[in-house]
């Protein structure tokens, strides 16, 4: 029972870990280049959740300087993750742009078809 309680208490971490592994699995297992990028995006997003979880205090407010509020959530993880989101967007945008160029150059975005056309690649 205690173990179950432990499991439930950390449900947010389980979700994050599940998303992380699922994302990484898609990157490894899929041959379609767009799907790979979607997996990569999922993988990155799961990390955002890992950051945000410990920053939240139940009943805490935004960090406002006032005598009325003494319990507040840590704003720093949010700021970090805003930055990470921007980096993530740039990465996925660049990745998709590369896929467009690959499609123009090879006529396919399936890895195995492309490798058939270019043995050395």
């Amino acid at each position: 029972m205690a173990a179950l309680q432990e499991l439930v208490n950390h449900y947010n971490h389980w979700i994050a870990v599940f998303l992380m592994v699922a994302g990484l699995y898609v990157v490894v297992a899929r041959g379609n280049m767009v799907k790979k990028l979607v997996g990569l995006s999922l993988f990155q997003t799961s990390v955002y959740l890992i950051y945000l979880t410990p920053g939240k205090i139940i009943g805490g407010t935004a960090p406002i300087l006032s005598d009325e509020f003494t319990v507040y959530s840590n704003p720093l993880p949010h700021v970090l993750i805003l930055t990470a989101i921007v980096v993530g967007i740039a990465t996925i945008a660049l990745g998709l742009a590369l896929v467009v160029r690959i499609n123009e150059a090879f006529g396919s975005i399936e890895e195995d078809e492309i490798f058939e056309k270019d043995v050395e690649a």
């Binding site: 990484l24 990157v27 280049m33 790979k36 990028l37 990569l40 993988f43 990155q44 990390v47 890992i50 950051y51 410990p54 720093l76 993880p77 970090l80 930055t83 990470a84 980096v87 740039a90 990465t91 660049l94 990745g95 590369l98 896929v99 160029r101 690959i102 150059a105 090879f106 492309i114 270019d118 050395e120 690649a121």
Partner: protein, 493 residues
């Protein structure tokens, strides 16, 4: 005023240069801006290293927010050494870029290429100077993203695939790094590296710290292509524009290696990294596999750029071998090999770039008898090749010498034997090219080849002379590296 703000200028100057390059749009003007910036940046780096040698560590509070709350730029001897290395390589290579880039990249894209180059430079300098773990991630991605785009600008369509593969692998590596920083932040409540290092001792449960260490090691190793995480590197270097290959081979992996040094020795400290888990043994084993595996693969490559790329993977093995040995001569060898490999591999790629410029490719067949047609280029290639092998009198020898001393200090004679054996493999792959270049008769396209233009020849020869210079006069390389190694092992902040 300017002197006080040098740490910030080190990063901001190339960043502004990149924006200017995009605004001017003209290829030659963008090249000129990049040239000016590339020559200013090492001046700042020299000023910084002189300040550090003179008065110790420089701590700069970005935007006036005092650390550990604000972002700190922290220049110690290791930072200053890497800053100087990266910026000097850029300054020497950039005059070479104009013709080489003109022959490989179309008019409309040239200004963008120089913008990417400067952004990449910004990122690498940023990694080396920042004292904030998350800030280092942002710079890591600034340099990586611009690198992916630079590689994709290669002529061959396979450059696109190489860039895509690198993007996937690099992003996984960067995300692992973010996970590690997240764990460390949760456990210590700080992002400042020095502050973090101080608080690590107070952490009650150490298991998360080791999880973070594992993520860090794998993530950063992906970025600097530690065997067996190197699969992105050979294609990326083979198909990128030649100038980009030369620049990246000399610098990109070095910035990532700097980051892992920083975490291993400054943040975690020797006791925590090497004391509990067999990280030292693991690093030595992987390094040996890189030295042998990648060198043997290099022997079978017909594309010379690809061959040198595999050789880079092997050379990274020598660097990490020094870290794995974790004593003063070992660490000195590893750190000094950052510089020695940068000049050596830079010289090799610049020489090959000259052949690509004349022949349009760097296949082994294009080298037939080229020693007679491009004597200066091939002589340079041969000298730099001797440095890869580690012949006394060249830079490569110095690094291997320190590594051998480090192995003997552990009483591992077999490791010295393996060092010599792995060097013999590099004799084969360098010798193969030299044999074709000097002892075959020129035929086909080679008949019309002439020496590469002076603006390319001079930077290539500056690099080549540097490989000889650093093999004889070592106070700027090995002297500083041994000081760094002593500081790192003593845990000096």
């Amino acid at each position: 005023m300017i002197v006080d703000n040098l740490p910030a200028l080190q990063v901001i100057v190339p960043l502004l240069g990149a924006i200017l390059c995009v605004l001017v749009r003209r290829g030659w003007l963008a090249w000129f801006i990049a040239l000016v910036v590339s020559w200013i940046v090492p001046l700042i780096a020299v000023a910084l290293i002189l300040q550090v040698l003179d008065g110790g560590v420089i701590s700069y509070a970005m935007g006036g927010w005092a650390p550990p709350v604000g972002i700190e730029y922290r220049v110690d001897l290791l930072s200053a050494f890497v800053l100087l290395l990266i910026s000097m390589v850029g300054a020497v290579m950039l005059p070479y870029a104009n013709l080489s880039v003109e022959s490989e990249i179309s008019d409309g894209k040239r200004a963008w290429f120089y913008a990417l180059y400067l952004l990449c430079m910004t990122g690498m300098l940023g990694i080396s100077i920042t004292g904030d773990a998350f800030n280092a991630f942002v710079f890591l991605e600034v340099s990586s993203l611009s690198t992916y785009a630079m590689i994709a600008l290669g002529k061959d369509r396979r450059a696109l695939l190489a860039a895509y593969q690198y993007l996937i692998m690099g992003t996984i590596g960067a995300t692992f790094y973010v996970i590690a920083i997240g764990i460390l932040y949760t456990m210590t409540g700080t992002l400042n590296m020095v502050d973090m290092s101080g608080r690590l001792g107070d952490v009650a449960t150490v298991r998360p710290l080791f999880a973070a260490l594992a993520f860090l090691t794998v993530g950063i190793s992906l970025k600097f292509a530690l065997f067996p995480l190197h699969s992105w590197l050979p294609n990326a270097y083979a198909y990128a524009p030649t100038f980009a290959t030369a620049f990246l081979a000399s610098t990109a992996t070095k910035a990532a290696v700097y980051l892992i040094l920083r975490f291993f020795f400054s943040v975690y400290g020797v006791a925590l990294v090497f004391g509990i888990h067999p990280i030292s043994e693991m690093l030595i084993a992987l390094s040996l596999m890189a030295m042998f595996g990648a060198s043997i693969v290099a022997v079978y490559q017909d594309n010379i750029k690809r061959m040198l790329a595999y050789s880079s993977v092997a050379q990274i093995g020598y660097i990490t071998l020094g870290f794995g040995l974790a004593n003063v001569p070992g660490l000195t060898g590893g750190v000094v090999h950052l510089a020695n490999h940068a000049v050596t591999k830079g010289a090799l790629f610049l020489a090959v770039g000259g052949i690509v410029y004349r022949m349009g490719a760097a296949h082994l067949d294009d080298f037939k008898g080229i020693g007679k047609k491009m004597p200066l280029t091939m002589a340079g290639f041969t000298i730099a090749g001797l440095s890869i092998i580690g012949v006394p009198g060249t830079a490569g020898f110095i690094s291997k010498w320190y590594l051998a001393i480090a192995a003997l200090e552990h009483g591992w004679g077999w490791l010295v034997m393996l060092l010599v054996l792995s060097s013999l493999i590099s004799v084969i792959y360098i010798g193969r090219v030299v044999e074709v270049a000097y002892f075959r008769e020129p035929e086909g396209k080679v008949m019309n080849a002439t020496e590469m233009p002076l603006s390319m020849l001079i930077p290539a020869w500056v690099m080549i002379l540097a490989t000889i210079y650093f093999g004889i006069e070592t106070s700027w390389t090995a002297g500083i590296a041994s000081q760094i190694a002593t500081d790192l092992l003593a845990g000096v902040q």
